[in-house]
Symmetry: C2
């Protein structure tokens, strides 16, 4: 595959027609398994349905999982692919919203902006200082049809480009509330995070710190616990489980000892998390160990929501106020009989009867 | 620092005198934090006290923690340093015993042997096939004075060199039993493993599968749980704990949010495990969260021992037979009032009254 790097000339740019009036905006949803970029015309407000010019899909852009180089390359790659497919050059870009998992601190935002501003610049011939002038004062969060969630926050007061870098929970929230940043959102995919917003702009989060720091409700967390259960059953520390046969069959391994080498050969989070459907089907098959892992993960996910809602008092003084609870991610969607998302909602409804669960219809990636 | 790689000429070898009669043997103890190599004269049986010619210390050689390249470089480096200090060339080496953490499967043993046999060979001018002819039939396990533990298993029937690659638990066992491979050994350092041997040569192990696969009693496991507790306290999912202030002070960070970046900037197991003394001192200071983490780790470590002892029936039919229980590693040694090793022994004695705890006097590394 041809790789487009920001520090290089992109061949296709010399062949595209002059930029459309008003230019374009890019929205990037960067997850721990895949990264999606959409390209839209730059106009405010955006019409409904949204005129998506192009859509590109790449790998993990969470630097905590795959390292800075790989994360950066995927961000650049999906933006280049989206521009290429929309027949636009970098000079037509007016705003970029990057909603990326692993953005936990202002230094993470700054790092991503630094990646994009390295000379030769994302937009050739522009003055970098001008170019990065902060335009973001008001916010507009766009829901991209029924099948995309990408938050775009920008203001086209001038023709300058701006970058808006946020945790992907911000985009996930917007996808469920038609753009309004209010309520609580839970992402449970390869990673997990709960994020909340009050109507007056206060924010809070829980979890989202990755597997070393205990995100046990995530797809990675569920899968790692299943692998651990297989090791424990094998060496006599834990009960026997059907997970052993099902996981070994999946990888065509003959002994749990071989799982150790498999695990560390490449411990990218997404690779481990790919085991979740096997854990779910093993639980559906009545295995007690797999069921306990899933019930524990439900409690972990519910705890994250509860922590955010309490800190922001989204439930009001009496605990009964209505608030949106947006739920996205493969762990909450990909189940059959064993429905993790439904169990989380059950837990939450007991504590906060006003929680209004929303599962946005999002396009399955890729 | 000058790096010695196996595939290169080692300058010092041209200056050393001809090999001593009988040559030398190398014993390598490869841990997840550091790797030690000692060089001894090749004679069998070895005299007491052991005439250690040289000793060299390097970094982590567990490929699961730091990757294959770094692990291989440290193994080569400590062997070269030990030979250099003993004024010996590679041609004087008769046997090498590598007892390395992360050796869990025959493929791990083969990988290390392959590293060492890559041309130009460890021993210049030798025929590689001859050179690797397997000499190991009987075993001799040497205890290197009061302050080293390295198992050496070899037989000098011919003048050929042989390599013996084992998990470091084998060397740890030998260090506590004057060389006899019988009983149970627990290592709890950066990683943890329990290993056992019956008198008729049966072996069993528990844990030792690294942090993704649930080695929660290890130094890494204790430290990761402490970091998780800080994140949970910060985002409202867990109780407040003095670990927050103590860990942030240690790293000169101002907020738990910054711990996420710190953790993933370099998640080598030893770097995380270095937090254990802080967890212990926080527990000694009465912090409930830190105490719970340590008590949980005690139970995890005890569970590993129990699993091995039961599988090998080291405790006999009535559960009361006497057997050696060798305990090594920083987690079991480095405590003051809160003594993790002592608590593990308490647990084990209730289940197996015949367990005979042995804490070998080993030289603190480096």
């Amino acid at each position: 595959m041809k790789r487009y790097r920001n520090g290089e000339i992109w061949g296709f740019e010399s062949q595209v027609p002059p930029s459309p009036d008003g230019g374009v905006v890019l929205g990037v949803d960067g997850g721990t398994t895949s990264t999606v970029c959409v390209c839209l015309p730059a106009s405010c407000p955006l019409p409904e349905p949204l005129p998506v010019l192009s859509r590109a899909v790449g790998g993990c852009s969470n630097h905590n999982s795959v390292g800075e180089n790989a994360a950066r390359e995927w961000l650049e790659e999906v933006m280049a692919q989206a521009l290429s497919e929309a027949c636009c050059s970098r000079s037509s870009v007016r705003a970029v919203c990057l909603a990326v998992s692993g953005v936990n601190h202002p230094s993470d935002q700054q790092r991503i902006i630094n990646w994009l501003r390295q000379a030769p610049a994302f937009i050739h011939g522009y003055d970098l200082v001008d170019w990065l002038f902060i335009l973001l004062i008001n916010s507009f969060v766009g829901k991209l049809g029924d099948n995309e969630y990408v938050g775009i926050l920008w203001r086209d007061k001038t023709n300058k480009v701006t970058f808006y870098v946020e945790n992907d929970a911000v985009a996930a929230m917007a996808s469920g509330t038609m753009g309004k940043l209010y309520g609580c959102v839970l992402i449970a995919g390869t990673g997990t995070i709960a994020y909340g917003f009050t109507e007056d702009g206060k924010q809070a989060r829980a979890a989202g710190a990755g597997p070393v720091l205990g995100d046990w409700g995530s797809g990675y967390g569920i899968a790692a616990q299943a692998l651990t259960a297989v090791i424990r059953a094998h060496d006599g520390r834990g009960p026997q489980t059907k997970l052993t046969k099902n996981i070994l069959d999946m990888f065509e391994l003959s002994s749990p000892d071989e799982l150790i080498g498999w695990t560390y050969a490449d411990s990218s989070w997404a690779r481990i998390a790919a085991l979740v459907p096997t854990v779910v089907s093993t639980a559906e098959d009545g295995d007690e160990v797999a069921n306990k892992i899933l019930y524990d993960s439900v409690q972990e996910l519910a705890d994250s929501i509860i922590a955010v809602v309490k800190r922001l008092r989204l439930c009001g003084e009496d605990g009964k106020d209505i608030f949106p609870l947006v739920m996205v991610g493969g762990v909450l969607e990909a189940n059959k009989r064993w429905d993790i998302g439904k169990e989380v909602v059950k837990c939450i409804s007991k504590v906060f009867p006003g929680a209004l669960p929303i599962q946005p219809k999002v396009r399955n990636q890729p």
